[in-house]
Symmetry: D2
Subunit: 261 residues, 4 copies
């Protein structure tokens, strides 16, 4: 069925700040269907946000908010002992700020995906997950939430009537138990365009991906993610796009439309 | 006419940050009709914003965005050589962030009032004024803009079809030419509750206010503003409220409704 | 022996930022012998640092650096997953910055005491403790390090030839095992001036302090600390000073002189 | 005389922040004799500062502090209405912080050069210049101050007994009156390695440099500066180094030694 043979392809983008540039945004915008745009806490600033959204509009890429922890120096990748209330308010603030630019650009906010340590801390923490979900519920309960299938964030979204969307990190290694290795991952995976493309093909044709222990692990995913700052991202992106096409799938970012339809 | 005998009474609020408290918010919320709420650049943070809006809702106070320059250390009160594009993006970011909390609190954003150096720089600068107006136009052209009658900001708003609302700073001295003294103003005015109340009464009954040079100066104002961090603000607020009532006027923050009606 | 009857009395100070004021600095400076001065990461700014040191000079109070995590919004009180290298560099940066003002004021840096989450995280973490000690060693190995007797920080200091100074938190509850309760402590202790003074007298006359479980716990301390933002700090300070005197001890901040002598 | 045929060659460096990289530091460190190292207000962070100083030590490059305005988002290049007291305290803070790393690296602080808008604002402003000079005087009056010959900063340094060092910006255009064009300068000068090298040769052999109006202008300079973020800086650096050598001069950063000798 054509409906089933559709997958979203997303990347983290808009991670420059002031005069500092970062990320293969231009190259990735040409191949992805949805972008997670930094909102100013861990990266991004008002000018970067506007420019990123304008590129997304030109490229027809759906745009999501990518809220992070208030840690510019650590790029939002350091766990912090934030309370659920703080998380709820940080997410709401950033989603609102980004959405102002989304609407000014003539677009419509498509999803929310927490960034870095906020994303990983919430996976195992029901309280933080509920806080993220609450912020989305307050802002717009129609917004899907990108997270790991089966995580606490996933369950919190489902419990609140928010649509969770299962993410597969194509450029990060998996353990046999299905968990993703986000720190020190370079010890387990060399994400060349070929390697990442092979993982995507395996997912789309077999429903499984090789684990770091060896045996393939079953993966449930509605969207394939790569990181704009993975070395070689500008080449990995097109390779993934080609892998999706050669597996007979279509790239589409219209999750929101599907949800709302 | 009852219609004419209505005036808005506003104050800058929500200017705490993290563990630091500032401003006579509670006392002022009891007497004002509209609040200008800091948005996180010069003061305020997501938790402060939420708490401030909840108080406003409880008190029935209309809420506006109070965007400032990105200068926490200087409280947004130091002029900066920002470009019109930067100003436009800073205003849009802050209005969007605040409005997320406004809507989560069940309120509706009522107006925009630039803060501190952003406000005063724009008064004489057509480019910066247009930038502020553009951000409002992008976000919601129905939002009134609080500024000085006859300023560049005023003209930019009118030219863009945004409603300008004339502010009278009851706790700041005026020159005979109608301009307001915002820096080093303590040399010219001791804003005791009695003094400020007398100025308000003079405005509402005679249409004039005493200037620092002596002669009264004609003032056009639709909203009366006091600063939450003027010494004695908690006492000045009720005194102004009483002065408005004793002059036979009503306090009302429903400018937006009037605009949209 | 006169030597034994001397104790340092310290407080965290200089925790204002920009226009935001915080802490009973003036009242405490009149009664303490040494101050831990915020260095700009969690609180304090260059102007606040200068003003705080000038007050210390006028009052004859010894001054130490109080470096914290780079988290202004959280006042440095939220644990963060910082690496030992980051901690070493954060401490070195802040000690250097503060010492510039110390010397400009004609004073001499007396000690280092980590602030908030940096302090508590290090107590149990040998790597972070070594990082703090390394920074002190790089800057000036003669500087004593205020910490908890027997903690990892204590051992790291000793191993590196840095003098550890045992702190007793007079306004925080103790468990029977000697550990201090820093979070949610208000459930266990109401730090009225009388209560805190009684704890100090008990320490100085009996060498023990009541634990939250009931039985007294032996405490080793060379310096007594109170927090400038504990409610009632302005009254607690003089009460502690009186308690020290009435126990027959002298207040003196000359640890550094003792070390170097 | 060999003594006379010596010139310092400096560049602004250490302008990365967190995960964001910026500037041709490695390439320039191989050819310059002194570096102006960012101190964390406009760019740089504790880890970047340490790494930059370690490279300088390895390369034998003298290191100066490059303090800027507290404006990370604007890279310290936007004028701000800071008071002389604020400037004095900002400079002292940053010099102290950097010097802690300088000494930890086994180096000795060589000079101070204000960055960006702080540098240019002070050129015409006697009050701000005095504030910068005061901070240097408080910290170490032996530290030379890099600035423009004849500027207010130059005079303030001389008046206070601080040694001013005349900077020639090899990659920025000059007007016939000797002033440097720092903003929108690309309209007047295409700084190819050949063009910049020719300007340096002209300075060293003729004592003059071509102005934007045409006629050569006399230039007094003891140090030649290029910006690490001028496009092509990695190639401009070696070209300047070669130009200095081919003009029969030696590159040396030992101003401080000269001063103190």
């Amino acid at each position: 069925m054509a409906e089933l043979a559709t997958v979203d392809f997303n990347a983290d983008l808009g991670e420059s700040f002031g005069l500092w540039r970062r990320g293969a945004d231009e190259a990735l915008m040409a191949v992805i269907s949805s972008a997670n745009v930094a909102c100013g806490f861990h990266a991004g600033d008002p000018a970067v946000m506007r420019a990123t959204l304008e590129t997304a509009r030109r490229r027809g890429v759906a745009v999501g908010a990518h809220p992070g922890l208030p840690d510019l120096l650590g790029f939002g990748r350091r766990a912090m002992a934030v309370s659920p209330r703080e998380v709820r308010d940080y997410v709401l603030y950033q989603v609102g700020a980004l959405d102002a630019f989304v609407r000014a650009t003539g677009l419509r906010l498509h999803h929310v995906k927490p960034h870095g340590a906020l994303y990983t801390m919430a996976l195992d923490d029901a309280h933080l997950s509920r806080a993220i979900v609450e912020a989305i519920g307050e802002y717009d309960p129609q917004l899907p939430l990108y997270t790991l299938a089966g995580s606490e964030t996933w369950h919190a979204a489902e419990a609140a009537g928010i649509r969770p969307v299962a993410v597969f990190f194509a450029d990060r290694p998996l353990r046999a138990d299905g968990t993703v290795i986000m720190f020190d991952w370079q010890r387990y995976l060399q994400p060349s365009p070929e390697v990442v493309a092979a993982r995507v093909r395996s997912l789309l044709t077999e429903g499984v991906v090789e684990s770091v222990e060896g045996p393939p692990v079953q993966v449930h995913a509605e969207t394939i993610c790569i990181h704009a700052d993975t070395p070689g991202a500008a080449e990995i992106g097109p390779a993934v796009r080609t892998a999706i096409a050669s597996a007979g799938w279509q790239v589409s970012g219209e999750l929101l439309a599907a949800t709302r339809g």
